[in-house]
Symmetry: C2
Subunit: 407 residues, 2 copies
């Protein structure tokens, strides 16, 4: 989906960024709450900040806190365990999370279902009766990898940690549609609206989280109330979240209060001009590609810095986005030569990531260790990735490589 | 493995129990620390007790605390997510866990490797270089289901919650053996010794955790330093645990400090007389079956009590022990009739459990909901399960059924 042929503009971006900001938010209160929309904000330092209260249960040692609404997983925390535990999973909220009261009585949560033959509101307790399924998938922020671009795009400077591999349980959206008599005529998009509180005095369209994805996503979309075998936490969208396997994080609407099957995409700014891929310096517009399906990607998680000489396991994670990952190659010389890595551990399905491993015997010296994944359709990670205004979707292997000194 | 033809003795006499106790421990200090060895202790109440300090990070709402060393997962906490999160996983220590200092510098942990051509001690950092793999498996206490027996066996009255499905990462034991020049001649067992501190004044053989499993377990055995994608916690055996997929929990030796390939089973009491299956009233002896491979088992996790009438998803977990589970049937009338359930979600491999689901439309009334699993070799859960002295290995489907009232 992401258009790698976007032409890069060298134009200094102050003006065009301001245009984007006006379109995207336009109120100081929102800018404060939403670093993605901040104008010219310096990249937030990656040093230790305290976890905000609503995620105080997270593993502080595994997280980099960028702001109250943006925290990523440290690269070394991913390990080889295929699953990202909830207390190490990144957090990214477009506006502040609702209060904890919405998870006090989970089954009482209401979802309005529209764009079906028989529109209605259902409580979560009723949704739970309609069906249950479980899917493992990569959850990844559109801006994961932004920190590898050099054009100083606004937003959190995520490196690799705005992503995780998690297991969702909930009701297939298809089962909900069936219980409502089927789709209304003309439905072309699944549109989810989040339950965040809109700050008073702001135009809701400018700040609300309402995203649309193509109706084809109905094949796998789910309304989830569990993550990794536990009740879905507030921080990750509980009591109910729209889950769209293969799609970037923003499309997985948290605290979903309205599920609509619509003829057009949402007219909220987050859809019309936000999360649009365009050359550096341009403002967002509906004609540009939206951050929908993810692309093939991988990164090494071990070793990352110094390493003792001798037998070493080089490993990391790889996924195909909306396709399964097929294979991964690893280079220890910055891409001059490549060896096929082995995929280990359980295969959690087409939308999940796999752990790859290459056994090596490293002698003292300096190494540039890179990984390059290929998906089931033959798409390969590119060496480089051209900048785009908001620095979305970076999957270039060179920037994700790590320098390791073996002594 | 578990011998279902053990003849049941009605003689639950104090004398024979005392004999077992003498063989198993024989010191008041140990009895206090080890409820499994307690004489005639009343079944511990299942009401709320505070979590001990070393597991204060667990989700208290999901746990039943039996004692400082024994906590099980509440049945309703399993959900449909296939994985058991670390903060909901049961805990069972045979003697008190070591201090937290052993996980302060994980890579410095030492493992003595014996019964190989070139015996030696390796640090965890070195083990990590030898190989890495990941396996999902059911971890289950031998006594899981003890609470369904009526013969008042000593030990924690676990119902279904002394079990979980978790993902381990570590080095295959085979790779460690290879790095040590291969097995020494005559190796017939893998013997692991735990790093617990033996209380002063006690005979180590009577209290130490040292278990042996057949050398055939080498096919899948692992030395694990991660669980569910995170560093292995002290409570679950960190920094290093022997993992033997398909085998009962006790064989997965925590804080392993010695890995030996031996001609005979360990002479520690936990192996010679502990974890032996025999008729009620008999004492443990090496001639009896040891609690090694697990058997086929399942239980419903939803619904458990009252339920609204109408569409309902009946679900639970099922596993084959040392075989994959092949299918599950569900009954809503106490076993008079059965319907095939559907297995949902990712298949995490032969040693993991699956989530099963049956969609039902329940009208007001009383239901006895049961599940009955079949493994890949055609083994089916029995209706009943004959008592054995220590109440190990219960997999009878009738006792695991739940009574549900639909209104």
């Amino acid at each position: 989906m992401l258009n790698r042929s976007d032409k890069t503009s060298e134009a200094t971006t102050a003006v065009s960024r301001r245009h984007f900001i006006v379109a995207g938010a336009g109120a100081a209160g929102v800018i404060a709450a939403n670093p993605e929309f901040a104008v010219g904000a310096p990249a937030l330092a990656q040093d230790a900040k305290a976890l905000p209260d609503y995620v105080a249960w997270k593993n502080a040692n595994a997280m980099i806190v960028h702001s109250k609404n943006t925290m990523e997983t440290k690269r070394e925390a991913f390990g080889a365990g295929v699953i990202t535990p909830a207390d190490q999973l990144y957090v990214r909220n477009n506006i502040a999370a609702p209060g904890n009261d919405i998870v006090a009585d989970r089954n009482a949560w209401n979802l309005s279902i529209e764009g079906v033959k028989n529109p209605r509101t259902m409580k979560l307790s009723e949704l739970k009766g309609l069906g249950v399924d479980t899917v493992a998938m990569v959850l990844q922020c559109s801006g994961n990898g932004r920190g590898f671009f050099s054009h100083k795009a606004s937003g959190s400077p995520w490196k690799v940690g705005a992503a995780g591999n998690v297991i969702w349980s909930g009701v297939p959206v298809r089962a909900v549609v069936a219980a409502c008599g089927g789709l209304a005529d003309g439905a072309k998009f699944i549109t989810g609206t989040g339950g965040e509180t809109i700050p008073q005095g702001l135009d809701p369209k400018k700040v609300m989280v309402e995203r649309s994805v193509p109706i084809a996503a109905l094949d796998h979309a789910m309304l989830a109330w569990e993550m990794n075998g536990a009740d879905l936490s507030l921080a990750h969208g509980g009591p109910l979240r729209l889950v769209v396997p293969g799609y970037y994080g923003v499309n997985n609407v948290k605290y979903i209060k309205r599920l609509a099957f619509t003829a057009a995409e949402s007219d909220a700014n987050i859809q019309t001009t936000g999360y649009r891929v365009r050359p550096v310096g341009q403002k967002g517009a509906p004609s540009q590609p939206s951050m929908w399906q993810m692309t093939v990607k991988s990164w090494v998680t071990h070793p990352l810095k110094d390493n003792a000489k001798g037998p070493t396991q080089i490993y990391g994670v790889a996924f195909g986005g909306d396709n399964p990952v097929k294979g991964v190659e690893v280079s220890t010389d910055g891409g001059k030569s490549w060896k096929a890595a082995k995929l280990i551990g359980p295969d959690l399905g087409p939308f999940a990531w796999r752990v790859f491993v290459l056994s090596a015997d490293l002698q003292p010296g300096s190494y540039s260790i890179a990984s390059r994944a290929t998906d089931s359709k033959g798409n390969v990670q590119p060496e480089d990735f051209e900048p785009n205004e908001r620095a979305y979707g970076h999957n270039g292997w060179k920037a994700h490589a790590v320098s390791v000194t073996v002594v």
